[in-house]
Symmetry: C2
Subunit: 451 residues, 2 copies
Amino acid sequence: MTPFKLSEELLDQINSDIVAQNNKALQTLVKEYHYADLAEIFEALQIDQAVYLFKLIGSEKSADMLPELDEDVRESILDALSSEEIATEIEELDTDDAVDIIAELPDEVRKEVINQISDTEHADDIRELLTYDENSAGGLMAKELVCVNQNWTVTRCVREMRIQAQEVTHVHSIYVVDNKNVLLGRLSLKDLLTANEKSKIKSVYIPKVDYVTIDEEGEEVAKIMSKYDLEAIPVVNEQKQLVGRITIDDIVDLIKDEAEKDYQLAAGISSDVEADDSIFQHIKARLPWLILGLVGGLGSVFILEGFEGFMNHPSHKALFFFTPLIAAMAGNVGVQSSAIIVQGLANDVVKGSLFNRLIKEVGLGLINGGSLALLVILFGVATQQPTDVSLTIALSMLCVIIVSALIGTFVPIVLNRRGIDPAIATGPFITTSNDIFGIFLFFYIAKWFLA
Amino acid sequence: MTPFKLSEELLDQINSDIVAQNNKALQTLVKEYHYADLAEIFEALQIDQAVYLFKLIGSEKSADMLPELDEDVRESILDALSSEEIATEIEELDTDDAVDIIAELPDEVRKEVINQISDTEHADDIRELLTYDENSAGGLMAKELVCVNQNWTVTRCVREMRIQAQEVTHVHSIYVVDNKNVLLGRLSLKDLLTANEKSKIKSVYIPKVDYVTIDEEGEEVAKIMSKYDLEAIPVVNEQKQLVGRITIDDIVDLIKDEAEKDYQLAAGISSDVEADDSIFQHIKARLPWLILGLVGGLGSVFILEGFEGFMNHPSHKALFFFTPLIAAMAGNVGVQSSAIIVQGLANDVVKGSLFNRLIKEVGLGLINGGSLALLVILFGVATQQPTDVSLTIALSMLCVIIVSALIGTFVPIVLNRRGIDPAIATGPFITTSNDIFGIFLFFYIAKWFLA
């Protein structure tokens, strides 16, 4: 199979079918597509047409599509539905997806929708899930899971599971609890398939099970699940009672979002923005960083003005030709060092003391900076630069690279210790401050060396 | 649970137990830890000690740890084992992990190891998997899966599955094939649990199943699985015969690696390197990009030398103070635009023509650049800069930002169309070339404007 690609022809056909109100044709056509593909179609339609089609396709399919839609498209569609219609959609969804969508609704609509859900257990589950922080295990989990009592026999277990399984999309592990719903362990499908039918669950279950508590941070859950290759993890409360389950598909999205967020911050893009978002969203995400860069850059203008005297010397004025190079190298090295630390912190591989890490960066800076300094000297010889100017530039290059590497290492580690996302240190913030530091250091060394 | 953190005390204890050859104590201690945690312990040990401990812990646990180890640690440990010992480890692993490890062995050792595997079917499966490109579906898949014939009854199906399930770590979907092993559909655990025992599989299976062909690219498989929330996907050959299965845990690693690779390239780090790797590996990953930056930066030196004449004018010399600012803004904007495109291409959201996209960037550049140009003029007024110089800088800022955004958009799209990874365009490559373009444009506009 190849993933679906939305063609102009398909879109034109849907558009004209909507205009002509060919409802039968639309219903037949929609059946062919996976809900994730349908979401792409809906995002390409105009809102009125999207709402028309949405009401036509039946909640079994439209509900699954809702979590896949862009937030603004989803908002526009839900705006056009009554709270009763929204409740019908919500009933089709697992509690984790249901709660994500309900959380986006305005307060008054939210209550109305929940009250209209006919399955009161589902409604209660949603009310419970709404109380948790969306970035915690409680906010990520679903209430749907398959759970058996340790005192049941395999036969009873299979019978009860048949009932529970009708509510659960993917079974994954079967959790084993005692009479007080305290999590004891798990039963793999394999165990169940190979166990004697008369055995008690007590005698066949695996008493070891990984779990997270309800207030664990989402990022931490992602780390645990990906490190230990888990496809689902049970969530317990303070009494170790089983309250929910997180599945790997939600974690895949979280890992992807996390990595993309770090990457965007490194590129100087603050909020989550995609290529096809509006110009206004792009401005909001990008302009603040550019202004930060501008303000920082104006700082370097002042520094350079302070060293204007060098321009009066026939060979020293060359320093100004090399300034952008020094600034660029300071920025490049700072971004490298900080990216290594940010990724290391995310993957828990930054061990040892800050001091040892800085020493390592000095070593690295000596070798990288030394190599580049040598190239600068060779360039000076080739272009018949005066020796003192060449040496000044080479020496500054070495110092700037070491200092930039230290700043790039130090800043994210310190931010992280203070509970601030270190990824903000990898972008324009570090380039700009390293530019200024680099330029200042360059001219300061020159002043001292060429005096 | 909290993920394991390796403490100094634990490491000291293991070290002294190894020196004292307290084998019993070591074996007891090792049992407590998950294989993913053991891998961390092994990575912190010296090689001799790691090999000693490895031989002590029994292949059931040590085998699972092997795929989790850093490549160089794994290589050192396997170097110290005989081909027979390696074969014992390999027998414990699923075919997908087994083949990844065997592929790393030197040619002659590889053959010896495979010949020593006592389970000939396992050996044949590994030989088959070795023939596929490691970045294709064939290279990612495992041969272990649960598969039933459409002509079986539910009862027979459960019986056969009991046998197959003993070989398979996670069952996920049950695939349904015909007598020629052609993939027909799937049977979910739910279906199986709720079906009548005498029904034929033919009448209860779901005839729709997502699958990939054996030569599909790994990145494409990851996109399909994460888009359609699949936890496992069957792999078929050209005759649509079922040949293997890819599970989500391998895809999670791939998605993570992919996102991290893009991020590292954006930061000017070429090969996969982590905070705790050796200085030598860091130099290899970072120095080439710095040299690229240096060479580019030296280009800007030539450009600036060409405009030396401006230094002789009392107010025009200010242009040199503003050069690092202009270069930095060119770099920042280029990185923003290219990162948006690279992420958009990775997520398939870059639609529409290149021309439309460039037009959008011009619009964005006009607004962002216009705002920044205004700030530059205000700064000029505040610092009593001559008006012509202020206007030159503001106008150049606007032009440089538009041109940089265009370059940042154009380059990754063109690279992608030519089959080159567009992520290489987001790092020092784009900053350096935008620096040069920016500086040249700045002085060229100044020359024309101040003439």
